[in-house]
Symmetry: C2
Subunit: 414 residues, 2 copies
């Protein structure tokens, strides 16, 4: 079954806003065995919208229309579907009452044009929207002799997604052949994308029945494996088999076999070893700590640390001798090592991390270019120091350095 998602709204045809619901809806449709063959974004012009709906009716079996269900003049999805299919709209008494009740409960006036939200397509089922005033609609109809399933869902994500899950998914499931889907997400850190593909392509191309998607971002590679079969066992078996072979190929670049982010894995290992961590960040300026503290419960293993952006703070918070900075420079193997050791001593953590580098765009020299970063990890006995040169702009250098720092901790604890 082929589907098309139509996002309705002129704001999504500006440089400022993008449809994001369609990624969510695509996942849900795929889980039902439905392929998304087209996505269309169209503005609030009735003629354009009617045309886009007719085009979609000609090339897809399932249509999901998002947005354009509100009370304003620009909300034209109902009218456009009616025109494209030559259906009438009737004002639904129960919906009119619901709109009045909603306005009364919120103690807001109820302008006349709000009532257009109660207009229902001939033959459609009203889909209740507990998070907003505009209900959705479900239409099971024919067009040029072919059966078409058409869903009208509201645009705001907090209305669209719950409504689709509660009202559209069960209806689609009851109409479509049963499908069982197995899914796994593997993640690997700091492996170059080309190397990952060289290692993995010979493996995953043998599994034509498993859909493999590779996403790469600043030192992080995410592999999603998806398989649909007539039984869950069969689907799971294929995904697990492919995942097992990929895990082997990725060796210790692999950090997660179920999609968890790197910071969560680091916290998992810290908990397992009953170890604590503290950080002294210069060029990453709090980004390592920011990622770690994004995980709920991180306070069990993460003590905190210092943002040692200025040289005096490297001394006062992480015991780095000023002479060491004067001799080797703030961005040096020696200062990174001293930061890791110093923050560990100052906080009493099991592990101390130190990061210092040149994020750019200025500050680089011939011997110490922009992108040069030193990352050190100390457990009191051994202090490991990495020297890396990351490419890209300030933001990218800082993201790569943060990822490398977390991966260094993971490798030590593993």
């Amino acid at each position: 079954m082929k589907s098309e998602i139509i996002a309705v709204g002129s704001e999504m045809l500006t440089p400022f806003r993008q449809d994001t619901n369609s990624l969510y809806l695509t996942e849900k449709l795929n889980e039902l065995g439905v392929t998304v063959a087209f996505k269309t974004i169209v503005g609030d012009r009735r003629k354009d919208l009617v045309g886009a709906i007719r085009v979609a009716l000609g090339r897809a079996d399932i249509l999901v229309l998002m947005g354009g269900l509100g009370p304003t003049e620009d909300d034209l999805t109902r009218e456009a579907v009616a025109e494209a299919l030559s259906l009438t709209l009737r004002r639904d008494a129960a919906q009119v009452a619901a709109l009045h009740a909603r306005a009364a409960a919120w103690r807001i006036p109820m302008p006349q044009n709000n009532l257009k939200q109660a207009d229902v397509l001939e033959g459609a089922i009203v889909l209740s929207n507990p998070n907003g005033s505009a209900p959705g609609q479900w239409l099971d109809t024919t067009y040029s002799g072919y059966r078409k399933l058409i869903m009208l869902v509201p645009g705001p994500p907090n209305e669209c997604r719950p409504l689709f899950d509660a009202e559209c998914t069960p209806r689609l499931r009851s109409l479509l052949p049963a499908r069982f889907i197995a899914k796994r997400t593997l993640r690997a850190a700091m492996i170059p994308e080309s190397q990952a593909d060289k290692l993995l392509a010979p493996i995953y191309t043998q599994y034509h029945d498993v859909e493999t998607t590779i996403l790469a971002h600043a030192g992080d590679i995410q592999l999603t494996l998806l398989c649909t079969k007539a039984s869950l066992e069969a689907a799971q078996h294929r995904v697990d088999e492919l995942a097992g072979r990929m895990e082997e190929a990725l060796e210790d670049w692999l950090y997660s076999t179920d999609g968890e982010p790197l910071e969560q894995i680091v916290l998992y290992y810290l908990g397992l070893r009953q170890a604590t961590l503290a950080v002294a960040e210069s060029c990453t300026g709090g980004m390592v700590a920011g990622r770690i503290t994004a995980v709920p419960g991180s306070s069990r293993s993460f003590l905190g640390g210092a943002i040692v952006y200025s040289d005096p703070l490297k001394t006062s918070f992480a015991n780095v001798p000023p002479e060491l900075i004067a001799q080797h420079g703030a961005v040096s193997h020696e200062v990174a090592e001293a930061l890791a050791k110093g923050i560990r001593q100052r906080t009493g953590a099991t592990l101390g991390l130190g990061v210092t580098g040149i994020a750019g765009p200025t500050g680089g020299t011939e011997t110490k270019p922009v992108g040069l970063v030193y990352i050190a990890l100390s457990d009191g006995q051994k202090t490991e120091v990495l020297e890396k040169t990351f490419r890209g702009d300030r933001d990218r250098v800082r993201q790569w350095a943060t990822q490398q720092a977390l991966d260094l901790i993971r490798r030590r604890l593993r």
Copy 2:
């Protein structure tokens, strides 16, 4: 002139990847006075692609096709455009030579199927792509009696964008009537979105010739004003007039009249007052420092600080008496105040910031719910403490708290 952007690639019909080039291209087209009326995303199936191109030819004057220009079997954009317009493809000798030269320079083998990248549409101009192997194409043709401008551009952002700027923009400009565009971006912090709209809608709705876009994100409101006129002066005049009235209405919520982010404004004021800043972050865990240090040159005014995630670190890095924590709790007015004062003393900064709160999802109580955050700012004489309760998940609470902290600093320095 109406345009349609067609993004080609099955990966953009998965839940994992989204077209982002189209936002960039939309901005560039808008600047030329060209409206984007439709965006279509289509997979690597030839029949679907030919159909989508025919649909676009029927409803738009300018077509930009992105992607599907590479050497693999799945790269079918050239073939599909040829089929849709009944044009032939010819293998261009100069492009064949260029592909061989490129392979030789990179010392990589040159498989036979790479040569399809040298196939050029009958009547098309080859657009050079210095960042990749597949050139773009420009076709000025007719379809059903109407003139159509068709551009084929590569999909990778680092190839697509420079190629469009260097090869497509000048050609479009020479063909389209001269347009002058004025643009301004205003930003405001911590004003509720509904209140902003209530203040501003009566103003901007009077300016039908200025397109106003409002984006809201975690305590930040961004207003973009765009006006196109026959002269730059006329366009600038309208934008500046509307911007002036909006600035007045927004009062001191407004922080930026030219689009700069809040952290940059904070650094600007710090520089102006020759003041320095240090932070002691608990629940935001480094996010305030992370945003500030994202700005190049932030080291001139930002000293650093401490991530005081554990209670002992609140004492050792920011001089918070353990008794104070025992008496009032780590999340309290008193501890926030002590953090701000303490980090200021410890670092010698002009201003000290303290943030402590309950980001959730657990840790809330009846008197101290999830979302409660105390933010304090001290200059040694006066210490201001804000108590806020932010709604939403952990990530959202932390983002709002970070924004509120930066806004508190801005208001003090202004």
